[in-house]
């Protein structure tokens, strides 16, 4: 069972480079995302966090280098991602989850109970029938989380899910991230918020200008950063 749950892990990026036009978004990225721990991709805006997540999720093909999922070069199905600005389908909150369950091949008879369970998990049962696009930012983000979980993922990527939320909504998302990883789902999340990474991260990958600055266990990264960039960033200085 444990082995089956870990299909597609670890994720290994080798010498990954992503260029778009003249701009290099990621360069020389060599990193292993292990099966356990919550992995946090930390860095200032524009450091390549979203691009790295999209590469690891198989949405973006690297210009050079390769990504291996559990040793295989083919992208596994057991992944889901919550985008920074999730696109809600023009249907109800329920309808959004039902859509994913249906396309993931969940039997019709099971769908209603799964929808109830997922909406309950993210605390949105009371607005199940509201049109998804009319929900608040925090509610949409929680619905996006439920929708991603409807794919029953082994790995869940979250791209700055709290970036534009108020403290209460941020807390709701962070609590959910806890719950999700306690259920054995591997969480890979990006943030530019040092305090958030302190609260949640097990392992840190710090990016700057599309390159990896430092990686390591969160505890030692925060207590004793090894690089100047990490020290500056943690001290609250502006990284340019």
């Amino acid at each position: 069972m444990a082995d089956a749950r870990r299909r597609g892990l670890p994720i290994i990026a080798r010498n990954v480079r992503v260029a778009r036009g003249d701009a290099t978004l990621l360069d020389d990225v060599d990193v292993t995302i292990p099966a356990d721990e919550r992995t946090f991709i930390l860095g200032p805006n524009g450091s390549g966090k979203s691009t790295l997540l999209r590469v690891l999720h198989g949405l973006q093909r690297p210009t050079a280098g390769e990504v291996l999922w559990g040793g295989a070069a083919t992208h596994p199905s057991g992944q889901a991602m919550v985008f920074q600005r999730p696109v809600m389908l023009r249907r109800s909150a329920r309808g959004n989850i039902r859509y994913v369950l249906r396309s993931s091949g969940v039997a019709r008879a099971e769908r209603n109970s799964r929808i109830g369970e997922l909406l309950g998990l993210v605390g949105l049962e009371h607005i199940a029938h509201r049109p998804a696009r009319r929900l608040s930012g925090g509610e949409q983000q929680r619905l996006a989380l439920a929708r991603a979980l409807a794919r029953d993922p082994i790995v869940l990527f979250l791209d700055e899910p709290t970036a534009s939320l108020d403290p209460a909504a941020t807390k709701a998302i962070e609590d959910l991230v806890h719950t999700i990883s306690e259920r054995g789902i591997k969480v890979v999340m990006s943030t530019h918020d040092i305090a958030e990474a302190r609260r949640l991260a097990g392992e840190i990958i710090m990016l700057h200008h599309g390159r990896i600055v430092e990686t390591g266990a969160a505890m030692s990264f925060f207590d004793a950063p090894k690089t100047d960039e990490a020290k500056k960033f943690l001290a609250g200085e502006l990284l340019i």
């Binding site: 999720h57 949405l59 985008f83 696109v87 809600m88 994913v100 396309s103 998804a132 696009r133």
Partner: protein, 234 residues
């Protein structure tokens, strides 16, 4: 001066009293153009969606052809369908020439490219917004196309309306393949053309007024639906 006002007065009378001759013509017009819009939608919308989300060699050329076909001259479409359906033509044995069915075929050919080209644009725009999200959720391009057809349904309603507007207002194609036979294939536009040349201005004006009013009402309804949907679904 007085011809116009007198004719208009008689025309209003014809409309108000639901003159059977006039209503018969209006109903046939609606039947032909609505059927053509329906058939063209069944062809054009899936085609537009498919072109919007798939990548294949020659796609750009196909889009250019499709966009150019939006401006097909109705008389040329009428002529080609006429040649196909005429007794000596390849489909002559179907015996469809000078029937409402022939008119439906001509209008379908005329507006299917419009529906395909416009819906391609609508869905391509939506696809830029949805692509990563849908791919991440495991949708195939085919499934994605279906999803977008549903998610852009209110914009597509306007597309359908544009097609219907083109169908109901054109005269060139239906007059050639329908033959403008009284009580059989005479629709609003062909009657207006005929009665004007005959000098029966009241009927022509009455139909003209009905045509414009109909178009206006449909567009108002579409506009209302769209703003309602926007408020409801975002």
């Amino acid at each position: 001066m007085s011809t116009f006002s007198e004719s208009l007065l008689v025309a209003v009378g014809l409309i108000v009293h639901l003159d059977p001759h006039l209503t018969g013509i209006v109903l046939l017009s609606l039947r032909v153009s609505l059927t053509a819009t329906l058939v063209a939608a069944l062809i054009g919308l899936p085609l537009g969606a498919w072109i919007a989300v798939s990548r294949f060699p020659g796609r750009d050329a196909l889009i250019a052809v499709l966009n150019a076909m939006m401006g097909l001259p109705p008389v040329v479409v009428g002529l080609v369908i006429y040649l196909l359906l005429s007794r000596a033509g390849p489909l002559g044995s179907w015996g469809l020439l000078f029937t409402p069915t022939a008119m439906v075929i001509a209008q379908t050919v005329l507006i299917a490219p419009i529906l395909a080209a416009l819906s391609r644009q609508v869905i391509a725009d939506a696809w830029t917004e949805y692509r990563e999200q849908l791919t991440s959720l495991g949708a195939t391009p085919f499934g994605g196309a279906l999803t977008l057809l549903w998610d852009t349904r209110y914009s597509l309603a306007t597309v359908l309306l544009a097609g219907f507007g083109r169908a109901i207002a054109e005269v060139g194609a239906v007059i050639i393949v329908g033959g403008n036979i009284d009580g059989v294939t005479r629709v609003m536009t062909t009657t207006i053309a005929l009665e004007t040349s005959k000098g029966d201005l009241p009927l022509a004006l009455g139909l003209g007024t009905t045509l414009i009013a109909l178009t206006l009402i449909l567009n108002l309804a579409a506009q209302a639906t769209k703003s309602w949907a926007r408020a409801r679904f975002g």
